[in-house]
Amino acid sequence: MTETHYQGKLHHLQKELMSEYYSALTASANGSGVPAAYLLIGGNPVELLRAFDILPVFPEVNALQLAVRKQSLPFIQSAEFMGYSSDNCAYVKADIGMYFGGRQTPFATIPEPSLLLCNYVGCNVYLDWFGHLAEFTGQSAFQLDIPFIRSASGKPSKEDIDYVLRQLHHLIGRCEEITGRKLNEEKLREAVRLSSLTGDLWSKIKHLTKRTPAPYDAYFDSVTMMAPLYCLRGTPQGLEFFETAYAELLAKAEAGIGPLEKERFRYVIEGPPPWPHLRAFRDMFSRWDAVAVASTYSTVGGLWEFGFTHDPDRPLESIARHLLEWNLTNRNFLQRYEQIERYLEEWNANALIIHSVKSCRLFSAGQGDMREYFTKRGVPTLLVESDLEDPRYFSEAQMRNRIDAFFESIAHRPTREGVKV
């Protein structure tokens, strides 16, 4: 059986930098005076917070960190004890449970928010999540209303952009109230410039998996890079991380080294990972010498590999475009199909895996149709289901059975190009 043991420089640097980030959160919780803003990953406008030296806190990242460390269930259960339904988003429950558990986690003490920035309208549960946090923390929630992409072109209208820009100006006003400082435009431009360079490197890293073998797993290794992408983007440390990561992964690509000894299957994966069982899930693919060459999940916070870059000369407009157009969660379903199709074609993948999340009906809705859509186009497609946060939804034997049967079936059948994989 092939197992994955790869721990490169980027993994160590990630640990070090994230540990510094969490120390800053703990310091804020302990009264360092640095204000903290809670915000959501989808298209996160973190650059604006950098301009005011406000610490970004991502409740989703905290929740998934709890899940990876197998600490989520007691918090989920305490939220259920409060009355949250078993069907409710488990990220929400873990976060609320953690909040009432004194905001203590194994990685940081999470500070109280000075700003609740609900920047994602794609999910009505998230609106309620921040609504509840507003009630519990006594802070009012700032709702950034981001219109969905509704046009067939996949582009926001000028009115959409103006609408978001007006709200960003209101948000600046709120940040000025919180910090007692006027916006430093030069500082904003610098944060956007750093994000621009970071995004370009992340895009280059994404394109490296077009090579055979892919130098890293675009799902299981991408998640290592996603925390710095959100928590450290717009800072010199964030840029340093991506410079290191790109150099290391490029060297691997040049040397023809992949994360597994052998690369037999190349697949695209849709949906978040089952964080509480990440290692077991990864090994289910590794034992088939299967490598993810692209993942839609790694574009939830931003979609850089298809040409987006922040523009320091138009900082607010590029933040607005990031929120509107260049993140997975605000895109329509046809765009999600197109994104996967591009991955299948341009990244030369043989199969599609959809990991559906039980406690997120909103994002998972339509994935049955997605499976049909790609199956009809001759793409071997597997839909499996568990949860991103709640360990109780993961049945290892059933999951393994489906994944094994899927790879057994594609091992014997020609791909749509008529080539055996």
Partner: protein, 264 residues
């Protein structure tokens, strides 16, 4: 004569098959899996060797399948029961395009082409529509599992169940009993509900004849008839349908042994 064996360690029962070099079934054994899965595979293998009067050293290759396949530690290969059911069904019924498998705890639809899996669906972590549902229903009515199928065929006015949940079906059945409904009409309703649910599941991989019905529930004549009625097509059913996963595993074992011989 040399042989190959397939061992299907299922959630409820362990099915073992030995075939000869001509792919003829020469021995079968059916044992309860029980709590010790490692022991279940070994016990089943001993039983099938004894049933066929075959020595271990004459078995060229053993393939484990089913949920307990990784516990068949003496096996040469492990292959999922999905792939094995497709293989077994295609050996017994070469024209098979769709396999409908109803076992103790899961129901599956498998789309098959030339003996290989094209696509498959399974029920999730819920026993609705599986053998467990039928055994719960039989138990509630005080009947033996092997008599409910034939009784269901005598239904004249089958009841309509409000649930296919294995837990809630008990209260549904009890309320019909309390209303004085005939046992055969209740059983007719139960079989109808499960057949409809199974077809809805299998539809996701496409309903393409010819259909082969496998798994323990294929021994239930009421379910066979109900599925045929709803599909509007006959089902291939063999007295060995219950062993289909083990048959497929044995065929894989034989192919593996022969290819190893050729290679050497």
């Amino acid at each position: 004569m040399k042989y190959a064996a397939g061992i299907d360690v299922g959630s409820t029962q362990t099915k073992c098959i030995i075939i000869d070099e001509n792919k003829q079934i020469v021995a079968r054994a059916l044992t309860d899996t029980g709590a010790n899965i490692t022991r279940a595979g070994e016990r089943g293998y001993e039983a099938v060797l004894a049933a066929g009067g075959i020595a271990r050293e004459d078995v060229l290759c053993v393939v484990g399948t089913g949920y307990g396949r990784f516990k068949v530690s003496f096996g040469d290969l492990q292959i999922t029961e999905i792939t094995c059911h497709a293989k077994g069904a295609s050996m017994l019924f070469p024209e098979t395009s769709t396999v409908i498998d109803m076992g103790g705890q899961d129901a599956k639809g498998i789309s098959v082409q030339n003996g290989e899996v094209v696509d498959f669906v399974m029920n999730d972590k819920c026993a609705a529509g599986t053998g467990r549902f039928l055994s719960t229903a039989a138990e509630t009515l005080g009947l033996a599992l092997d008599e409910i199928g034939a009784l269901s065929l005598q239904a004249r006015n089958p009841v309509r169940l409000s649930t296919v949940c294995t837990v809630f079906v008990e209260s549904d059945i009890m309320s019909y009993v309390a209303q004085g409904k005939k046992i055969e009409d209740i059983l007719g309703g139960i079989h109808s509900a499960i057949a409809a649910r199974t077809i809805a599941l299998v539809r996701r991989v496409g309903l393409k004849p010819s259909y082969t019905f496998t798994g323990g529930v294929s021994l239930n004549i009421g379910m066979v008839k109900m599925l045929e009625e709803k599909l509007g097509a006959p089902l291939n059913v063999s007295p060995d349908s219950h062993y289909m996963g083990a048959i497929g595993a044995a065929v894989f074992a034989l192919e593996h042994a022969l290819s190893a011989t050729t290679a050497s």
